[in-house]
C-alpha cells in the first residue's frame, strides 16, 4: 500500500515536498516517519530528539486531522493516507 508524506517549511527544505512510499500492513505513523527521516541525518534531528521521540513542537496530521504525538506510535497508516509533518513557523 502507498502513503503520501508531505513536509512543510523547514522540514520541506530537508526532505523535499512530497514523498510517496510503499508501506507494509500494520505500519504505525511514528515508525513510518522514523524510517523516512533516518535517511537524512540533519532532517532526523530536526524532527526527532535524541531519544527518538518527535520534538514536542512538531505538528502531525493524517488526512487533515491532527494526530497527537503521544498517539502517533499507535496510529496505523492505511493505503492512500496523506500524512503531513511540519514545525510551527516562528519568524516575523
Amino acid at each position: 500500500m502507498t502513503v503520501k508524506i508531505r513536509f512543510f517549511a523547514r522540514f520541506r527544505e530537508l526532505f523535499g515536498a512530497d514523498i510517496m512510499t510503499d508501506v507494509g500492513a500494520g505500519t504505525m505513523f511514528t515508525s513510518l516517519i522514523t524510517t523516512i527521516a533516518k535517511k537524512n541525518p540533519e532532517g532526523y534531528t530536526a524532527i526527532f530528539d535524541e531519544k527518538g521521540s518527535f520534538h514536542e513542537f512538531v505538528i502531525l496530521m493524517k488526512n487533515g486531522k491532527r494526530i497527537e504525538i503521544t498517539d502517533a506510535a499507535k496510529t496505523q497508516v492505511m493505503d492512500g493516507d496523506e500524512i503531513a509533518v511540519f514545525p510551527p513557523v516562528a519568524g516575523g
Binding site: R12, R66, V89, A90, G91, G92
Partner: protein, 251 residues
Amino acid sequence: MFSERERERYKRQMMLFGDEGQERLKKAHIFVAGAGGLGSPASLYLAVAGVGTITVIDRDVVDQTNLNRQILHFDRDVGRKKTASAKEKLQEINPDITVNAIDIKIDETNAADLLGEADGIVDAMDNYPTRYLLNEVAIAKEIPLFHGGIHGFYGQATTIIPGTTPCLKCIFPKSPPKEVFPVVGVTAGFIGTIQANEVIKFLLGIGELLTGRLLIWDGMQAHAEEICVERNPACEACGGMAKKTPAGKKK
C-alpha cells in the same frame, strides 16, 4: 465624516464598501505587535486603508540586517528606535490617521493594559512565547488575533476568533526553539499583506475570513495551500471558552 482629502484618498476603495465601510475602518483601533518583517507591510497597508488608530509596539532598534525585509525602516534609520521610525513612516504615508508607537517589551504584566480597547491584534512577533501572551489577551478580551509566521520562502497565516476558531495554542501547543531565521523580504510581504487583508475584512464584516484554516505559503513552489485546524477541547488557553456562533462580523 470625511474631509475632502480623505474622500479623494479612499475613493477607489469606497467604490467597494462605501462611506459606511470607510467609517468602520476609521473608527477602528488595531494593535500591531512588532514593527519588523510582518509588522511593516501589515501596518503600512492598514495605514493606507485608513484604519483610524494603529498602535505599533516594538522594543528594538533598527539594525542593518533588518533592512532586507522590514520595509518600514530605511537605511538612514539604522540605530533608531523601530517605534520612532515606524510612527514617522506610517504618519507620513497617511496623515489622516492616528499612529501610536510604544517602545516596550510585551510581557504578562503589561500585555492586557497595552492592548487597551483595540479591536484586533496583528501577530507580527518573531517568537512563540510572546505570541502565546497575545493569544491569551485576545481570548480574555474576545478580540481577533491575526497570526502570521515566516521562515525563508515559507510562511503561514490564520485568523483566530476566540471562542469560534482554534486559538494559537490549539494549533501550535508547543513553542519551537528560538533561532535566527533565514528569510527573504517578499515572504514577509506576502504574509503581512494577508494579515492586513484579514483585518480589513474583519472590520468591514465582509468576505470569508481565514478562520479554522492554516494557510501555508511555499514561495519556492509559488504554491499556497490550507490545512484545516480544529479547536482542542482540552486547550489550556481557550478550552474553557464556550463555543460561539461563527462571528467575524463587527457589531
